[in-house]
């Protein structure tokens, strides 16, 4: 049976899911491994997923996803902690607010592309940071909104680490499946089309602008849900939580995982979380170490961890072709590069 056969792939997915579900019941010191590693990886992965979705389907690399995370988080914090609302309507309103902000930002940001889009979205993230800092009647300024106790939903007490982990895992899987589903819908195909050739799509009658705004808003929706998960994890929301360091964290998680791979979002988030939690074995400058990892990945593993298999398979096929005896090639009628060509036919995901 080949490794790429559907049976093997489905078995692997099943084993992975089972492992993820069993994880909080079997790890030692769950206060660390479930909370610091498990839940953190999941909400950071959701944030990276929102960035990767946008990049994979529209070719737009955003640094502003944390703004929507913050919009949802601050809305929930303000309504629950300062206005005494219950969580359910506050979360719904927080997500709606995040999406609306996404639509607003998207309506002007997607007119730019490349580095200009990157800078615009970074400016939006910084705008959120300074708004959080200065609109103190809503955000409690520098101090932030603290002491948020996770609620009990449908009998699930989110104070419990295991419950919170399983809820976060469920939401992460649902969002991942939703992104995969969109990939195959006419909407997803249209997005990929306008990513590769917007002029041609426009000529075919597609409203490129509207499609991009909707994609951006959907990414903001994912980021807003990340904000909900994070506020349960952090039990507070503070301006530094939407600051530059955390913005870069999301980018690094996406790039390290593989910026064109949806599973890469969670792989990258897990890798970054591990690096940040265990960096003190190498250096006390964990941000510096994170930066070094980022540079190494960008330079030597541009497809991230999710693309390692594909990258090394490519090397193998290239080497295989290069050292194959020329006479055999002549007999079989194949030239150098056949392996690489074979590789390029495979799906990017």
């Amino acid at each position: 049976m080949r490794l790429s056969s559907p049976a093997v792939r489905w078995t692997a997915r099943g084993v992975l899911l089972a492992a993820l579900i069993i994880y909080p019941f079997v790890v030692p010191q769950p206060g660390f491994w479930v909370v610091n590693i498990g839940i953190k990886s999941l909400w950071l992965g959701v944030m990276a997923l929102s960035l990767i979705f946008l990049y994979k389907f529209t070719g737009l690399l955003s640094l502003g996803q944390l703004a929507f995370w913050g919009a949802a988080g601050y809305t929930i914090g303000y309504l629950v902690q300062l206005q005494g609302w219950s969580f359910a309507p506050a979360i719904a309103l927080g997500i709606v607010f995040g999406i609306l902000l996404g639509a607003l930002v998207g309506s002007f940001a997607i007119r730019a592309s490349g580095v200009y889009f990157l800078m615009l979205t970074l400016a939006v993230a910084q705008l959120m940071y300074f708004a959080a800092l200065q609109a103190s009647q809503f955000t409690r300024g520098h101090q932030g909104i603290t002491g948020i106790r996770p609620p009990t939903f449908l009998g699930l007490d989110l104070v419990s680490a295991r419950t919170q982990y399983l809820v976060a895992l469920t939401i992460a899987v649902l969002l991942y499946v939703l992104c995969r589903y969109i990939e195959g819908t006419p909407f997803g195909l249209a997005l990929r089309g306008l990513r590769d050739s917007p002029e041609r799509m426009r000529a075919l009658g597609y409203n490129v602008y509207a499609y991009k705004v909707v994609a951006f808003s959907f990414a903001a929706f994912i980021a807003s849900i990340g904000g909900v998960l994070a506020i349960f994890y952090n039990r507070q929301i503070v301006p530094d939580g939407v600051g530059l360091i955390r913005t870069i964290d999301v980018l690094i998680a996406a790039v390290v995982g593989g910026v064109i791979s949806l599973p890469g979002a969670f792989i990258g988030a897990f890798a970054l979380t591990m690096v940040q939690n265990f960096s003190q074995f190498f250096t006390s400058r964990y941000l510096t170490l994170t930066g070094v990892v980022f540079v190494v990945v960008v330079l030597f593993f541009p497809q991230g961890i999710a693309g390692l298999w594909r990258q090394f398979t490519g090397y193998y096929l290239w080497a295989h072709d290069r050292w194959r005896p020329a006479t055999r090639d002549a007999v079989e009628g194949k030239g150098v590069g056949a392996g690489a060509a074979q590789l390029s036919e495979r799906s990017t995901d």
Partner: protein, 450 residues
């Protein structure tokens, strides 16, 4: 892609979802059947640190800890902001911790003291993550730190969930850290309002200032700093004519300076760091002639040493209050400074504010550990009693126990920036007040006399 293949892809996604649902149900069922296990997890997180000695060794091996603590070691986890804007100060604080450890030969009653350092970046989210890792993963007995105010508030809230671990603050100044903090969190350094000392009273009675305007950053720390000043100043008989609360990170003070009333005797500055540099610089450029007086952050070493800014005209003669002062007439300070320079020749010319504060708080912890002979087997009860009554003469004034919120009283130094014999700016001590206690309520933003 054809419609058929899309449908097929969607069916696969549903299969994935269904598989996940089934496995989730199984796991949830297991969890429900095994309520104790779930509660144990909750207890680990909320109530109990994972410091059971019989469980730790094999897990620590798993995570490849490089310096495995000795079996009988007292393990202290140190959350220090070695990344971010206060990295230099945090590093200097670490030097002070090392000095204090050397005085005790890194052991208490034969039990070695191991310090595990976790780096934060002055953000509260990271600080709590690091503290949680130290408690849950490394199984430390005591958490020491953090550096900044918002980190302290966040860690004290986390500390409430792990009552079996003792927390000692390093230098954070948030009011809520102790006012609303749990019984296992102790602080020996000044909260924001304590950093103002008796400066409000002093300004009215000794400096003869009767009317003052306030310029301060609009967040919790300056609220407390300026709040204590305003309260005292008004109680003494002074009048606060106007308060300008500027956003943190403000770079343009032109409108504030232009609106400044001219019929005041002084302007109180409750701003620090680069904001203070900008304010002072612009006060020179706009020809502000009203004398300035300041909170602890207006003329600290980072402002006076700001590169590219000649603030001499603005800062000379400023009178300010601070919780740390390099008092060469204080034998404890001189001894501390000499040992600092001997041990760390590459350190600062004068031990920084963070070095002094870290030294105070960490050595207080070591004194308390010494008093109980390093015995923590009583659930830290002895240690906490010892921390509550610890007393010693520090380089920046005496420490004598803590109040009902586990907050120590501190000394406060009122000083003036003057020109030294060599023509360089220096500071001259005007008064030292000991036993400054924390205000029992957090200060809200005050716009005038309360």
């Amino acid at each position: 892609m054809t419609a058929l293949s899309r449908a097929s892809g969607w069916r696969k996604n549903w299969m994935l979802l269904a598989m996940f649902g089934v496995l989730s149900l199984i796991a949830t069922a297991c969890g429900v059947e095994d309520d104790v296990a779930v509660d144990e997890v909750d207890d680990d997180i909320v109530d109990e640190p994972a410091d059971e000695p019989e469980e730790e060794p094999e897990v620590d091996e798993d995570v490849d800890e490089p310096a495995e603590p000795a079996d009988d070691a007292i393990v202290i986890g140190h959350v220090n902001a070695l990344e971010g804007p206060f990295a230099a100060g945090a590093e200097d604080g670490s030097r002070a911790v090392e000095l204090a450890l050397q005085e005790f030969d890194s052991e208490i009653n034969g039990r070695p003291i191991e310090v595990i350092v976790e780096s934060s970046d002055t953000t509260p989210d990271t600080a709590v993550e690091r503290a949680r890792k130290l408690v849950e993963q490394d199984g430390v007995d005591i958490v020491y730190g953090p550096l900044s105010g918002s980190e302290g508030v966040a860690i004290s809230q986390y500390a409430a969930g792990v009552p079996d671990v003792t927390f000692v603050d390093a230098s954070s100044g948030g009011a809520e850290t102790t006012l609303e903090g749990p019984d296992n969190y102790f602080r020996f350094t000044a909260a924001g309002d304590q950093q103002g000392g008796n400066f409000g009273t002093y300004a009215y009675e000794e400096l003869g200032i009767e009317r003052v305007a306030i310029v301060a950053e609009d967040y919790a720390f300056p609220h407390a700093l300026a709040g204590s000043f305003i309260t005292q100043f008004c109680e003494a008989g002074g009048e606060v004519t106007e308060a300008f609360w500027v956003p943190l990170g403000e770079s343009d003070y032109s409108s504030v300076i232009a609106s400044m009333p001219t019929d005041v005797d002084a302007i109180y500055g409750g701003i620090g760091g680069s904001d203070a540099v900008n304010f002072l610089q612009q006060s020179i450029e706009f020809g502000l002639e009203i004398p300035l007086i300041g909170g602890s952050i207006l003329v600290d070493e980072t402002v006076l040493a700001a590169e590219g800014a000649d603030l001499r005209d603005a800062v000379e003669d400023i009178v300010a209050a601070a919780p740390v002062f390099a008092d060469e007439d204080n034998a404890e300070w001189v001894d501390f400074e000499e040992r600092y320079h001997a041990e760390f020749p590459d350190g600062f010319e004068t031990p920084s504010l963070f070095a002094a504060l870290y030294y105070n708080s960490f050595k207080s912890l070591l004194h308390a550990l010494e008093e109980v002979g390093g015995d923590l087997d009583d659930g830290h009860e002895g240690l906490r009693n010892a921390l509550s009554t610890v007393a010693w003469d520090t380089p920046i004034g005496p420490i004598d126990g803590v109040d009902e919120n586990n907050q120590g009283a501190v000394s406060n130094f009122i000083f003036q920036v003057v020109e030294g014999d060599d023509g360089e700016l220096t500071t001259e001590l005007l008064r030292r007040d000991d036993g400054i206690e924390q205000h029992p309520e957090p200060f809200e933003r005050l716009d005038g006399c309360p």
